[in-house]
């Protein structure tokens, strides 16, 4: 039932394509403040991908219904498939870089959720984690590239960026953006060195592998680079980078194919290889590349999705995907076998299939330009292994006689699992018979990549002759697959060559580093925390004081003592008492003595108030200090009597230096603050002038407290009452702790 929605969209997209004349756009504002709008630009390239997404999507939904059967979690799978399809449609239609990014990340998220579908399995979880880290990590870099690109172009509309490209071409920032986009595209499209997540993502259910990890999502990177090829085409690094990375990926993936026994993983490596070829096609100069790319994307979707369906059927019906245990399935599974055969014809590029058509276009594209002939030769082994893989998937497991250890309980897949692979695969063959049906479509799409893309004449005989070595080699590889496999599987690659190990290593390193850093900083000892806080305060004060008061003279010049009279001398004496007792506190150890000295400091403060003209403040301060000393002393006495006193901590030179330093810095700051000579006296004058006439109070301090700044007093009263509540809680905690003992 769910398949109706993608099918309706497919029909709509086909109609739109048949009547295609000019791209149509849909824009409405999203975040004008950032210049981001929900913009869609549906041109032939977007429509081409839309057809792919909805067409393959229809088959996937039909297939998944049969594949999942009565699986209790199937609703979850379908929900995420729907989310994925919507995100995919959004991604290829989007015209705004950030809208594209939104959908891009959504596809990554959907992929993550679908790969971890069998989350009971450790392998599935590991694979999902890897896929998430690689694709999201790449996504972050991509976002950076988009930001730089949007900054250069002054717009985040893709069409706008393309139009503005000549303005910023050649700037270093543009090249930086290009490489960011490369990283994003390579992670998504599984290019070296980010390729390893894709084969591991085969832990997902087969419909997911067919849809996300072969036909659509992994082509997003290819789509992105094709879409913005114009912007960077003039950079001499654009083509070569893509050719080197794509070519290496394409070849390396084929070597890795030989190491596998699992049918799905074999197909996955073939997908990686195909994606490499697509990257290479974007990088090739000349107009033929675009045409070949579009044709190959279509051909790949039409053969790889059915082959995954076939693998799913085989798994579903026999319980294994190990090619060593599978043979001669054609008798029990004739429909699946037929689909496999049709898809394999296209994959191998055999004449009269659409894959053949695409392959010819690729050959022509590669031939263009002498420099690239070497790639043409280099791709022969790659094509040969592709042929062999196709043969494995179609011939070996269905027609080849095995050595007897074949699963006994076998049956053909249900109807809904036979139709999708057959439909897609036979379409691949039918289009091969008459490629001119889709020619206009491919040309229109290719023109969106390179405006002068056109259909090239194919010289059939020459092409066929060129393919002979490929087939010959392919047959040899197929025939000696098991022996090759043994050889290749034995080769142990040095681990530094494997990107996967690097990812795992860096995760371990991150965890290790995290534990070192965290245990160093968050060590759990209050004394250390406090020391760090005081050091920070000291650093903030000392460095800035040193910077602002470069020559000491400024400081001295500000620090005027003013008139010397009796009161001033008394204040000075109080200050000396303060300083002496403060220094004494840093060296004394006995708790009682410390308490008494701190009382002495309070006395110093009170005295300084007294002689500075605030006898009421002095009185208050005096009472508070006395009360404090008495209360704390009584507590300490009790503690001493109970014998639970902590031994005094030994003096530490560094802490002593810290205390003295901070004290000195604060003192300096006081001098600097009061000596600036810029302080406005407006407030003091105002308070003095208005206290009696307006606020009806003779004591300015009291008026300040209860009238001018009454709100502060409200806050302080709250603090006082809170202190009661908070202490009550702390006491309750102590009491309960004692009761609990």
């Amino acid at each position: 039932m769910l398949a109706i929605a993608p099918f309706a969209l497919f029909v709509w997209a086909s109609r739109a394509f048949l009547r295609y004349e000019a791209p149509f756009e849909l824009r409405f504002p999203w975040v004008p403040w950032l210049g981001v709008e929900v913009g869609f630009h549906v041109d032939a390239l977007a429509l081409f991908f839309l057809l792919l997404i909805t067409g393959v999507g229809t088959c996937v939904f039909v297939y998944a219904a049969g594949y999942l059967g009565e699986d209790p979690k199937r609703r979850r799978l379908f929900s995420w498939l729907v989310v994925f399809m919507a995100a995919m449609i959004g991604a290829v239609a989007a015209d705004d870089l950030f809208v594209l990014y939104t959908f891009w990340e959504l596809t990554s998220l959907a992929s993550f959720m679908l790969v971890s579908y069998h989350h009971e399995s450790e392998t599935a979880r590991r694979s999902a984690r890897q896929a998430m880290l690689v694709t999201f990590g790449g996504g972050f870099v991509l976002l950076l590239g988009f930001l730089v690109l949007a900054g250069l172009a002054g717009t985040s509309s893709i069409q706008g960026v393309i139009a503005a490209a000549p303005r910023f071409a050649g700037e270093p920032a543009a090249r930086f953006a290009m490489f960011c986009l490369f990283v994003g595209a390579f992670t998504k499209s599984a290019q070296i060195p980010f390729h390893f997540w894709l084969p591991d993502a085969m832990a997902a259910p087969t419909p997911v592998s067919a849809y996300l990890h072969s036909a659509t999502m992994v082509k997003l990177g290819v789509y992105l680079l094709a879409r913005i090829e114009h912007v960077f085409a003039d950079d001499w690094l654009f083509g070569p980078t893509l050719i080197v990375v794509g070519g290496t990926t394409s070849a390396w993936a084929m070597v890795k194919t030989l190491r596998e026994r699992d049918l799905k993983r074999i197909l996955a490596w073939a997908t990686v290889s195909a994606l490499g070829t697509m990257m290479m096609l974007i990088g090739l100069p000349g107009a033929e590349g675009a045409m070949a790319l579009v044709a190959f994307v279509l051909a790949h979707a039409l053969y790889k999705a059915p082959l995954f369906f076939v693998a799913g059927n085989v798994d579903h019906c026999t319980g294994t995907r190990d090619i060593g245990q599978l043979a001669a399935l054609a008798r029990v599974m004739p429909w699946t076998a037929a689909a496999a055969l049709a898809a394999a014809l296209s994959m191998g590029g055999f004449p009269l299939s659409f894959g053949h058509f695409a392959k010819e276009l690729i050959h022509i594209a590669k031939r263009d330009g002498d420099l690239y002939t070497i790639i043409g030769y280099g791709s022969i082994p790659v094509s040969a292994i592709t042929v062999a893989v196709a043969a494995i998937a179609a011939v070996r497991i269905f027609w080849h006689r095995g050595d007897g250890s074949i699963p006994s309980e076998m049956h053909e897949a249900p109807f809904s699992m036979r139709i999708p692979p057959l439909a897609l695969a036979s379409l691949g063959v039918l289009l091969g018979l008459s490629p001119h049906v889709v020619d206009p479509m491919l040309q229109a799409a290719a023109k969106c990549i390179t405006p002068d893309a056109h259909l090239v004449e194919i010289d059939e005989t020459r092409e066929l002759l060129g393919l002979v070595p490929v087939y010959a080699l392919g047959v040899i590889v197929f025939a000696s697959w098991d022996r090759l496999h043994e050889v290749v599987a034995k080769v142990k690659l040095p681990s530094f060559l494997l990107a996967k190990t690097h990812l795992e290593k860096s995760q371990e390193t991150a965890v290790h580093l995290a534990s070192i850093v965290t245990r160093t900083i968050q060590h759990g000892r209050l004394r250390g925390y406090a020391a760090l806080l005081f050091s920070t305060m000291l650093a903030a004060l000392a460095l800035t004081l040193a910077a602002t008061l470069e020559d000491g003279r400024t400081l001295v010049a500000h620090a005027r003592l003013g008139e010397i009279d009796g009161a001033r001398i008394a204040v000075l004496g109080a200050c000396v008492l303060l300083v002496v007792s403060a220094i004494a506190m840093t060296v004394l150890r006995d708790t009682f003595v410390l308490l008494l000295v701190s009382g002495l400091m309070g006395l110093g403060v009170a005295l300084s108030f007294l002689f500075a003209g605030a006898p009421d403040l002095a009185l208050t301060q005096f009472i508070v200090e006395v009360a404090l000393v008495v209360v704390i002393a009584s507590v300490l006495l009790r503690v001493r009597r109970l014998g639970i006193e902590h031994p005094p901590t030994p003096a530490s030179p560094s802490r002593l230096a810290l205390s003295l330093g901070l004290g000195a810095a604060v003192a300096l700051a006081i001098v600097a603050a009061s000596g600036t000579g810029t302080a406005s006296t407006a407030l003091a004058e105002y308070f003095g002038a208005h206290s009696l006439p307006d606020a009806h109070g003779r004591n300015v301090v009291n008026v300040l407290l209860v009238d001018f700044r009454a709100l502060d007093t409200l806050g302080e009263i709250t603090v006082l009452s809170l202190a009661f509540f908070a202490t009550a809680r702390v006491f309750a905690a102590f009491r309960r702790e004692e009761a609990g003992r």
């Binding site: 999902a128 870099v141 245990r519 759990g524 305060m537 810029t678 603090v719 809170l722 309750a732 905690a733």
Partner: protein, 495 residues
């Protein structure tokens, strides 16, 4: 009318606190509490509407005009902060009604809770440096009372660490206020701004730096964040959500206010240092999250790293970055408070906060899993959730200002955050429960918990889908792109 709107952010919670002390029965106390929280939310909404239509609101307390008396000022930033505070308070109270790690109910809970809210609210509307200090003190004391709540040794240990470090930070604040008053003779924000003209600004640098340290302590920034991971994990869930959402953000708010409006002309070196501190805050916080296994500790370290992002925005010191920071703060409050509530439900359902001892929740509670994903991915910065825009704007400003290293650190932090969020996702949701399939136990009173969580998630999604009105509103607080212009307009209002 305006004076009512401006005093309500602290007077309403204070009145509620007083009432909850006076009301004898538990049921009535709850009623009063919900009434107070709802009223606060309504008044906060009115305040936002009023600021949106009338612009900056000012009230001189007791009729003593600024700069002589205490002035309350509400611009768009204040109004938005007051609104989100009221929302967090209401939802935390709602969550308290569930049985997922609530605070123990005693006569002390509601008064302390509401005084804390009053302190936070006062911070956001005051236009006076010393008054700001008073509200900091109010918050400090009520936080202390709430921390001591659990009544176990670990609570006391956390309380002592919290108190010593925060009290020291607050003391530094007091010193800085005294220095600044001595140097300028002013306490009013606008008057201070006027006094610190660019040619003179360098001389205030030591005092402003001390202020910076005080705010950094409150915000939980490198290197003075140690109190945060040391104390937060002992709190009961609703209180933890409140602390995590609001308290560090008060420090960030104070910094943003200071940097944008009070001392916008501070020397470049000030912002340079702040920027590097932000880099360390981001990275060290993210590493701490990777190291731990207790969900609450992971999330507490995430706060640190996210505060780093906000400091990054303040350090860039452009109008765009300031708007981005303000948006980041709003997004963060909604998402982070929610993550702690979610963690409580996870712990209550699966049996522990320790990731090594839980699992199986994706199968058992798919709804909870989705809600967790929304908040967690928003933290990572995945579009189209609120965190995406916050991060996007910061990165954009970072690139535009040529701060490539800081920007790269922000990107790396996003990746590390993803890594540690996935750790929670895998261990709590995907992996099987070590005690078997039936281990997850249902909550007895699940509705309040899920309602609170769903509300927060809605805010996160709404901010992500419709950021424009919020951004436009916030931008008014940082109206002029030239900081001196903003200063002039502020100073003019003060005259």
């Amino acid at each position: 009318m305006i004076s009512l709107l401006l005093t309500a952010p602290f007077l309403l919670p204070l009145a509620t606190a007083l009432l909850t002390v006076l009301v004898p029965s538990g049921g009535a106390r709850k009623g009063v509490a919900f009434g107070g929280a709802l009223a606060s939310l309504l008044v906060a909404a009115c305040l936002v509407a009023e600021v949106a239509s009338e612009g900056v609101l000012r009230v001189a307390i007791g009729g003593w005009e600024a700069p002589f008396g205490i002035e309350l000022v509400a611009d768009a930033l204040s109004a938005a902060m007051v609104l989100i505070t009221a929302l967090v308070a209401l939802l935390a109270l709602l969550f308290q009604e569930s049985d997922a790690d609530p605070a123990e109910t005693s006569g002390y809970f509601h008064p302390l809770f509401f005084v804390l809210i009053a302190g936070v609210g006062g911070t956001f509307v005051t236009g006076d440096l010393f008054n700001l200090y008073v509200w900091f003190e109010v918050m400090l004391l009520s936080a202390l009372g709430l921390l001591a709540f659990g009544g176990r040794v670990r609570n006391l240990d956390a309380t002592v660490k919290y108190f010593v470090l925060n009290a020291t930070g607050t003391l530094a604040f007091l010193f800085a206020v005294a220095f600044l008053y001595a140097a300028t003779g002013q306490l009013n924000f606008a008057a201070l701004a006027e006094a610190s003209r660019p040619d003179d600004a360098a001389r205030w640098l030591p005092f402003v730096s001390l202020l910076l340290v005080a705010f950094l302590v409150k915000a939980g920034a490198f290197p003075v964040f140690s109190w945060l991971p040391a104390s937060y994990p002992v709190l009961p869930a609703p209180v933890l959500a409140l602390f995590a959402g609001l308290l560090t953000k008060v420090g960030v708010y104070a910094l943003l206010r200071t940097a944008a409006h009070v001392f916008p002309t501070a020397p470049v070196i000030f912002f340079e240092i702040l920027g590097w501190l932000s880099v360390f805050t981001m990275i060290v916080g993210a590493l701490g999250a990777i190291y731990h296994y207790d969900v609450r500790r992971i999330l507490a370290f995430h706060i640190v790293s996210q505060v780093g992002y906000m400091l990054f925005g303040i350090a860039l010191h452009t109008q765009g970055a300031q708007v981005a920071t303000a948006f980041y703060v709003l997004h963060h409050i909604a998402a982070k408070s929610n993550l702690f509530l979610l963690a409580a439900v996870v712990a209550r359902t699966a049996g522990s906060y320790d990731l090594r001892r839980i699992g199986g929740l994706y199968a058992a509670r798919p709804g909870l899993a989705l809600l967790f994903l929304v908040s967690a991915l928003s933290m990572v910065g995945v579009p189209p959730l609120s965190g995406f825009w916050a991060k996007l704007m910061l990165l954009r400003e970072g690139i535009a200002e040529g701060r490539y290293v800081w920007t790269a650190a922000a990107l790396l932090t996003g990746f590390l955050t993803l890594f540690s969020m996935m750790k929670i996702w895998f261990a709590a949701f995907l992996e099987a429960h070590p005690a078997g399939v039936d281990a997850p136990k249902p909550l007895a009173r699940a509705t309040p918990a899920y309602a609170a969580i769903a509300c927060f998630a809605t805010v996160t999604i709404a901010l992500g889908l419709f950021p424009e009105p919020v951004l436009e509103f916030l931008a008014r607080a940082f109206g002029a792109s030239d900081p001196t212009e903003a200063l002039a307009s502020l100073a003019e209002g003060a005259r």
